[in-house]
Chain length 152, copies 2
DNA sequence: TTATCTGCAAACGATTTGCGGCAGC
DNA sequence: GCTGCCGCAAATCGTTTGCAGATAA
């Protein structure tokens, strides 16, 4: 589906080498195709070639990030999540309590993005925005009775 | 200005002890009154009492976070930033390239927050949202000529 | 009193880096 | 063959934690 050739081409155009490791890592990112951690990518890559190191995964992620081909986002935890930049556009609402994530359509933020562009000249990333807050269940629990959450 | 008594009261109401360390840390957060890192708080606290440890700062931040009195947000770097939850409401636009931050009025996101509430029952935090993207300068540089940024 | 808090220092997990050898172009 | 890349392992950095003594209530 997604033409991973373009990613490799982008790398080549930038003057970087296409190594088997990079091809494998890129393919893993495309196959997993979600918001994934470096560890998850590493695990997938290892199934293809067990001799690829985690350091290489991180270095490749840096490279792709720099090229704008992938997006790094923080979901509230200590680990970064990565996703293809052109992966089906959507945003996230993350519950501060139970960490549950809701996917939001990207058009929800269109008006905001337009305003940022017009008023500040800021070109907002149209993808993988993260909004924190409280999901229905946790909000009810927190603002009525106790402040505990079942899945905290 | 801001009544720091209320923070201490909140702590007391929760059954936690009011220690000098906590009072100092809370005061530091209120005095710095922005989006500050644990290290910054630690530095400020040290000027009042050099024997307060960084661990205590983190533990107090956890406590305040759990109580919802402060908000932890990630500005794209490796360090967390903290702010009083009721600190003058605003959001942030952070440039992925030069890390420059623009402060945005909170009402910009009001319509979005309303929609999240209506459509998903999600109560979005009305404060300290972080939008990533590219500032005017970096966007021009990146999408016309080279992909380097002066302050990267 | 006594349960909670503190300081210390060591542990921790995610990420980065120095280095010698290897390999894409 | 040259330059950039890789694997390894150690370093780093922010943050967390175990423990024994101190202290607010």
């Amino acid at each position: 589906m997604t033409e991973q050739g373009s990613l490799l081409d982008d790398l080549k155009a930038r003057g970087t080498r296409i190594t088997p490791q990079r091809a494998i890592i890129i393919e893993a990112i495309e196959t997993l195709s979600g918001h994934i951690t470096a560890e998850q990518i590493f695990a997938a890559v290892q199934q293809v070639n067990a001799y690829i190191s985690l350091a290489t995964v991180y270095r490749t992620l840096d490279l792709l990030k720099e090229l704008g081909l992938i997006i790094e986002s923080n979901m509230g935890g200590p680990t970064s999540h990565y996703a293809l930049h052109d992966h089906s556009t959507h945003h996230h609402a993350v519950c501060r309590m139970c960490r549950h994530t809701i996917e939001l359509p990207s058009d929800l933020f269109k008006p905001i993005a337009d305003q940022l562009q017009t008023r500040y000249g800021f070109m907002a990333d149209d993808n993988h925005l993260v909004v924190f807050g409280w999901c229905k269940g946790c909000a009810e629990r927190a603002f009525s009775g106790g402040s505990t959450c079942q899945s905290a």
